[in-house]
């Protein structure tokens, strides 16, 4: 397995370079370093000298990708792309274009994102699996049909509706929890209840339907019939056999998103005033802060690759027949 992990880590390097290059090109197709400088310095009285000084200080005074005036390897290394990218590979994100330390900001902002994402994921997983098992148990009954219809209805509603409706109903009409906001420590709980509940409810439709399909597929297999023929109770069959064997695709879906939980949710965090990472990248794009954009895209890519690797590893834990070579 170690060899497999090392091989996957090496595969990741060209992927990261490629993603980084793509991000760089997309960003600078739209924004020239000159415009970035002007946006940071303001519109009103900025002089060309100030623009040049800003570019020099922030390393935007070099050519973008290729420096024809340099010699040898420096033609590639004495460029904005190289100087801005190379440190990322040792996870040194440096400073944003406005001077803030990006690593420090990420460390500070990932906890509120996790505070919403982790309970939403765990509770959602538990609830969706329970409901899906119930629907599978009552397959082809009024409960199953009604449940599926309800799931489709829940899936069809925009997440914004859940958020605004939830804030209106629970926060404004019933006055049970704050409409939005955040605090540290135990005080955070009252702010997290509503976004977590809404997150869980929003995920019920798609999650339950998907898990139900997985469970039904397993239920129809021979080993389940054999287990029933042995006289095992339905509870035992469902929880011991069906659930366990349906875990592989569930793990595929869940483990791959685990690392991305750090990245937060833009809409949820924005509406609930959660100081997470969800809006960090969007805000940076709006402010044309390339340093943050490249750092967050790089981090997202790393986490996604890590998620895929964890998924592969989790297969071996869920299914002893699978070996990673």
């Amino acid at each position: 397995m170690i060899a497999y992990i090392i091989r996957r880590a090496l595969y990741a390097i060209p992927i990261l370079i490629g993603v980084n290059l793509l991000t760089f090109m997309l960003f600078f197709v739209v924004n020239s370093p000159e415009e970035v400088a002007r946006l940071h310095l303001g519109d009103k009285y900025t002089t060309q000298e100030q623009v040049e000084a800003w570019k020099q200080e922030h390393g935007y005074d070099k050519p973008l990708l290729y420096n024809p005036e340099a010699g040898g390897l420096e033609q590639l290394t004495d460029t904005i792309f190289y100087t801005k990218s190379v440190r990322l590979f040792v996870f040194d994100f440096g400073n944003s274009d406005s001077g803030r330390n990006i690593g420090h900001d990420i460390r500070q902002r990932m906890w509120p994102s996790l505070a919403i994402a982790v309970p939403s994921l765990l509770l959602g997983l538990l609830l969706n699996a329970t409901l899906a098992l119930m629907l599978a148990f009552f397959r082809a009954t009024y409960l199953d049909v009604g449940g599926v219809v309800l799931c489709v209805v829940l899936m069809s509603i925009s997440s914004l509706f859940y958020i605004i409706g939830g804030q209106y109903l629970v926060g404004k009409l019933l006055q049970l929890v704050p409409i939005s906001g955040y605090d540290t420590g135990f005080e955070a709980v009252k702010f997290l209840i509503l976004p977590v509940v809404i997150g869980v409810i929003y995920g019920i439709g798609s999650g339950t339907r998907w898990y139900r399909t997985l469970f039904l597929e397993e239920i129809s297999k021979d080993y389940v019939r054999t287990a029933r023929a042995k006289g095992l109770s339905e509870q035992w069959v469902l929880f011991r056999h069906v659930l366990r064997n349906a875990l592989i695709p569930i793990l595929t879906g869940v483990v791959v998103i685990l690392p991305l939980l750090f990245m937060g949710s833009l809409i949820t965090e924005s509406f609930f005033g959660i100081p997470g990472l969800g809006s960090y990248t969007i805000d940076a794009i709006q402010r044309q802060d390339f340093s943050i954009v490249r750092a967050m895209v790089f981090l997202g890519t790393v986490l996604y690759i890590l998620g895929l690797l964890l998924t592969d590893i989790s297969y071996t834990l869920a299914d002893p027949r699978i070996r990673l070579r």
Binding site: E49, W54, F271
Partner: protein
């Protein structure tokens, strides 16, 4: 969390008595989870709204820079103007805006000098001065807020000026330094800050314009630029035009005359900065921990920033070293009736703490204001109808719902102009010939800004009659103030001229029915639109319809802001919209937007229409250097006549701010020039606490009803499950 509070809450307790043990325990758990420290479960602040003089408000954009040498946004000014104190400020109540001393002891003494530096003899016009000197006396005894940069050891040395990496190991925020100190404000701190403005490494946004006036400023800039290793602590360098004359007096010498300089003295750029702050923050390891002046301001003002988390909350607390300042005892007519003079002479600040929470979305912000959790609010377009209603005569009022809550509405015309500009370099809409002039005037009539204001800003704006907003010197009230090329005066009000008149102008310009009489081709114009997404679609369609009234085909050239600015700099755009917010309340700050030498194509200046009229430019040069008075009014009138005749802009509109405040907020007079308003505000905390309790009584029964309904749904499934199990068992 203080559980005693929810026990004293009558609603939950009554509820607890009614339900059985499981329900009771469920309720207890729910209450522990839901309740804050207050009777209201949904209180987002986690503290009793009646406990102290705390003001709660929100902000939507995070401030990026808080160093007064760099900061130049209204978002940042909302915070730093409570902390930093420049020599002057605007009177809180008087309108038109009037400068008064803030950290200065009195208004600056202005001296006009000849080439040799001798004062001009009496009777010589100020415009002939080679230099102007501002002598500024500051108040003795002003102290800085407690700050670690000023903390001293027992031996008198600075405690935190020689930090090592080991010292910083456990430091993440400023509060991690256990010691603070203070010292008296001295004139040298003002001089030091002006040197900072000239330091290119600080990227001061106004350095370019200030360098034109302050003697030695440009040379100081060049010296730092061309010298390796200049320390960030600039005490060792001198600037010839700026000098500390004594502990409490300093001098700023300008080249020639620049009367508007006095307004700059009311901006944070010219607030004092202790050199210790730079020495402290520039130590190795501080920037990596985000311990910078952009994050931790250090000033002498009534408040200090004690929590800076712009992703969540900013907290200003009373500066214990603040000297106190009396509330103004005079204002404009009507202020006494509005209650703005009730606190006259009382020592400010009245609020001990101000908590600003980040609210990016309008809906939660508005809901929390209605719940009483924010003391002040603007009005978003989606909640406008809920808050505002217009009377039969068009007068603005609050809806019954707002009146019942005791909410107050204040409005103020912003010192801002949004305009539609014509690129004067363009061969069709530009130029100074009669043909293009008539075309521009026809378009100015056709683009109906009254309708625009009504549709797109809920009536929050007034059509512009020229570049100057109301309350700026030079603007006439009534008929004398209208733009006669676009409006007529009828029944005591300005009425936009009819479209037939505009069509007649088109005919005279050679574009009858939108056809170019010279070429026989339809007239097609191009509009540079920043963003053309779904949000902008309605306004762009509206604009097309305005041009279509004259049979002009308007082509929208959608672009992003970067490219738009590039087009403006190159002069390749044709028609565009832009805006300007005043730096200071002087007509010069608007009229220079059309001054020839400021043409954007030539100098990257603010004259985005690239308008160049020698007659106008000559008048501008006269106007900018003379004080307000009859002569200046006369020149401005001539300038406005020229502009209205040439119509380089369709004059657009001036936005009007609507500010709502709860009944417990006092002294909330809107101001669009200064942001140091927190110290004037007073909160009646008892009234707030009572209202919030009344408005925010939790309703629990639907939760239990919902759970009951869920149980009813699950029950048949459970019964079915058990029956099946029994059947299988047989």
């Amino acid at each position: 969390m203080n559980s005693n509070h929810f026990i004293t809450n009558p609603i939950p307790v009554r509820f607890l008595h009614r339900c059985g043990p499981p329900c009771r325990w469920g309720s207890v758990v729910a209450l522990v989870l839901l309740a804050g420290c207050d009777d209201s479960w949904n209180n987002p602040h986690g503290e009793d709204p009646g406990a102290g003089a705390v003001l709660y408000a929100s902000f939507s954009d995070r401030p990026q820079f808080m160093d007064p040498a760099r900061s130049y946004t209204s978002t940042a000014y909302g915070f730093i103007q409570q902390v930093y104190e420049p020599p002057l400020a605007y009177h809180y109540l008087k309108r038109p805006y009037e400068l008064v001393p803030l950290s200065a002891a009195r208004m600056p003494e202005v001296r006009f000098l000849d080439e040799r530096g001798d004062e001009l003899p009496p009777g010589v016009p100020a415009e002939e001065a080679a230099y102007t000197e501002y002598l500024i006396d500051i108040q003795p005894g002003i102290l800085y807020q407690p700050h670690s940069a000023l903390a001293r050891r027992e031996d008198g040395g600075y405690r935190y000026h020689d930090l090592t990496e080991a010292d910083l190991e456990s430091v993440n925020v400023l509060l991690d330094f256990p010691h603070t100190g203070s010292r008296e404000l001295v004139a040298e701190d003002f001089v030091y800050q002006i040197k900072r403005l000239a330091d290119p490494r600080r990227h001061c946004p106004i350095a370019g314009i200030i360098a034109e006036y302050i003697e030695g400023f440009a040379e100081f800039q060049a010296h730092i630029q061309n010298t390796e290793g200049v320390p960030m602590d600039l005490r060792g360098l001198s600037m010839s035009g700026v000098e500390s004359l004594s502990r409490y007096r300093y001098r700023v010498r300008l080249k020639g005359t620049y009367p508007q300089f006095i307004y700059w003295l009311a901006m944070p750029f010219f607030a004092p900065m202790p050199w210790e702050a730079d020495v402290f923050h520039e130590q190795p390891g501080m920037a990596q921990r985000n311990l910078t002046l952009h994050w931790y301001p250090i000033g002498t003002g009534p408040y200090m920033l004690t929590e800076n988390n712009p992703n969540l909350r900013m907290v200003l607390e009373r500066n214990p070293n603040f000297r106190g300042e009396p509330y103004p005892s005079e204002g404009e007519p009507g202020d006494a009736g509005e209650g703005f003079l009730d606190d006259q002479g009382r020592i400010m600040p009245f609020v001990d703490r101000a908590v600003f929470s980040l609210e990016k979305e309008n809906i939660p912000r508005w809901s929390k204001f209605l719940q009483g959790y924010y003391d002040l609010s603007g009005i978003g377009s989606d909640s406008f109808d809920q808050a505002i209603e217009y009377g039969g005569g068009g007068e603005v009022g609050l809806t019954d719902e707002m009146e019942e809550k005791g909410i107050a509405l204040r409005t103020a015309v912003d010192l801002t102009v949004y305009y539609m500009g014509f690129n004067m370099l363009d061969p069709v809409v530009g130029g100074y010939g009669e043909r293009s002039r008539l075309l521009r005037r026809a378009i100015s009539i056709a683009v109906d800004y009254e309708e625009n204001i009504s549709i797109f800003t809920n009536g929050r704006g007034i059509p512009a009659q020229g570049p100057l907003p109301p309350q700026i010197f030079g603007v006439h009230e009534g008929e004398a103030g209208i733009n006669p090329y676009v409006y007529r005066w009828e029944d005591g009000r300005a009425v936009r001229r009819g479209i037939e008149e505009a069509r007649e102008l088109m005919r005279r310009a050679g574009y009858q029915n939108g056809i170019d009489q010279e070429t026989g081709k339809p007239l097609v114009l191009y509009y540079e639109a920043v963003g053309a997404g779904p949000d902008a679609k309605a306004s762009l369609n509206w604009l097309r319809k305005q041009f279509a009234k004259l049979d002009i085909q308007l082509v929208i050239r959608a672009t992003d802001y970067n490219r738009f600015r590039a087009k403006m700099r190159k002069g390749t755009g044709q028609i565009f919209q832009w805006g300007w917010h005043a730096d200071y309340p002087d007509p010069e700050n608007f009229l220079f937007l059309l001054y020839g030498p400021n043409a954007q194509v030539d100098t990257n200046g603010p004259n985005s229409a690239n308008y160049k009229n020698p007659e106008y430019d000559a008048l501008f040069s006269q106007m900018k250097n003379i004080p307000n008075g009859e002569r200046r009014q006369q020149i401005i009138d001539e300038m406005l006549d020229i502009l209205r005749r040439d119509a380089p802009w369709a004059w657009g509109f001036h936005p009007v701010s609507y500010i709502l405040s709860h009944q417990w907020v006092h002294n909330n007079k809107p101001t669009t020039m200064s942001y140091n308003t927190l110290k004037y505000r007073r909160i009646d905390t008892e009234s707030r606490a009572a209202e919030i309790r009344e408005w925010n009584r939790p309703t629990v029964w639907p939760v239990w009803a919902g759970l009951g309904a869920l149980a009813l749904l699950i029950l048949p499934a459970l019964v079915g499950f058990l029956r099946r199990e029994r059947e299988r068992g047989r």
